[in-house]
Symmetry: C2
Subunit: 293 residues, 2 copies
């Protein structure tokens, strides 16, 4: 997905939010803001929004001298999700449709976006989970994904955020363990899951975990490592979590299924769904993008 013009004010807002999250030094806030404005002014808008996310967070790491400013937030998100995990696993076990229930809970992980807020109260978490269990879902696409999982010999599961990755485990456990490889980011970027988070989620003991060699908050193939690109080409199914992966992989390959919550009007327009909708959709490399209309 290209960057829409209305994404730009959002980059500026997010850069300031991230700077304030990372340091209390107002000189750094202002420097990061001004550098973001300069970058955005020259940004090629045919690149997807996560390209800019990568640039901003590189600035931020340089400005703060911290290579992983979200480490503590990611740890807390994992801990919170791990506390929820046993009861949710029970729900999947007792469900008449364990695959669907696990998938809904994995999307709920993207709903909750455990990295965005430093603290989530229990009520909020339970509301998000209850919503995910009852919201409408494209059952046709769900059936296609279930079928594709059964048929696939080599499944890549592209994780999104820390915390969320614990709920992904519920869905991954409904897939044949010897055919699934979980993919995390190669370097810390915002609250995206890295190998450390896959370990905390207990995934490394369960399935193969690789990283994509990149610090883009999404998956820009040409910026990923050669081994990951090779795996991406050879696999027969990709399960892709979250907006960042949709923004970077949409229109790339029909073997990709996107699972996400559409959180902003630009994404909703691009997917042609409502804001707030739970989305499961197969990629269509030939479709006419909404932005070109």
């Amino acid at each position: 997905m290209r960057t829409y013009l209305e994404c730009v004010s959002c980059f500026v807002r997010q850069a300031l939010d991230a700077a304030r999250r990372t340091t209390s030094d107002p000189a750094v806030h202002q420097r990061v803001l001004r550098q973001t404005l300069r970058l955005a002014a020259e940004m090629p808008f045919d690149r997807p929004p996560p390209w800019m996310g990568q640039q901003i967070h590189r600035l931020l790491r340089e400005a703060t001298g911290s290579d992983d400013p979200y480490r503590q937030a990611k740890r807390e998100a994992n801990e919170l999700a791990l506390r929820l995990y046993p009861a949710l696993k029970q729900r999947v076990r007792e469900s008449a449709e364990p695959f669907e229930t696990a998938l809904r809970l994995a999307i709920a992980g993207n709903v909750i976006d455990l990295g965005v807020k430093s603290q989530l109260d229990d009520d909020e978490v339970h509301r998000a989970i209850d919503g995910a269990l009852t919201d409408t879902l494209d059952t046709g696409a769900l059936g296609d994904l279930r079928q594709a999982v059964r048929a696939a010999k080599d499944i890549l599961y592209l994780a999104d955020n820390a915390g969320e990755i614990v709920l992904d485990r519920l869905l991954i456990e409904e897939m044949p363990a010897d055919r699934v490889t979980v993919v995390v980011k190669g370097k810390p970027i915002i609250n995206d899951a890295t190998r450390e988070d896959a370990e905390a989620a207990g995934l490394t003991a369960l399935v193969r975990v690789i990283d994509n060699g990149s610090d883009v908050p999404g998956t820009i193939l040409e910026m990923c490592s050669a081994p990951f690109r090779d795996r991406f080409v050879r696999c027969d199914l990709v399960v892709s979590k979250g907006q960042g992966n949709y923004e970077t992989l949409g229109g790339v390959d029909g073997k990709v299924f996107f699972l996400l919550k559409a959180k902003c009007p630009v994404i909703a327009r691009d997917i042609r769904c409502r804001i707030g909708q739970m989305v499961i959709c197969r990629d269509d490399p030939n479709r006419d993008p909404a932005g070109s209309r």
Copy 2:
């Protein structure tokens, strides 16, 4: 008021909104957006937000070749407000507190912000007016303003937007006509009222109307004409409408009373009021600005 860092993403959003309002040419949208980002990157943040508004709208006028892209919107806002005027004037006449009622309706004009939306339905307008008539108001400040109006020999009334200026007339009519001078902008800037709007509102037949010689969407004294600056210094009371005038004149002189609706979190924090609150406050040039805490 200085520009807070969170104002910057709002400039970017507003520049794109304004570009889209003004032309359907996507090349112009992108050019104005990129130029705004470059300007914002180098902007002195000790200048008030309307300084940036002036720059953006100069860009826009250049890019579109139109010296007054909001002319039609301003005309429609005046026409709408003029249709409301007779019934509102009746309400003032029948009120036990005509000055307060007129003042509330003048602030309602700022609430409605007739320039922001191209169309307002009747319900919306009536809700805004009913709200303004019943919302809490600082009665101490109201009493101070009433007293200041009685005592003043030379009152400057700084108008804000087209449409709104028709409702300002209700309050101006509660002041001694021979002691009031209404001030409009020197050149078209967004939907700010110019002489044309004062005429449409019937004010030129009622009181003196001057312009401030500037195209800032607020009042930056050093950018105003020498005759206006001279009037500002010599007068004994300034009634200032709207956020733009607050942002540029706050902390300047204790003879200024601000009337506005606090529409954004930055203004609300600076004034120390709730978002959405109707504000009447006397300027305090000695107060510690909220931003320095």
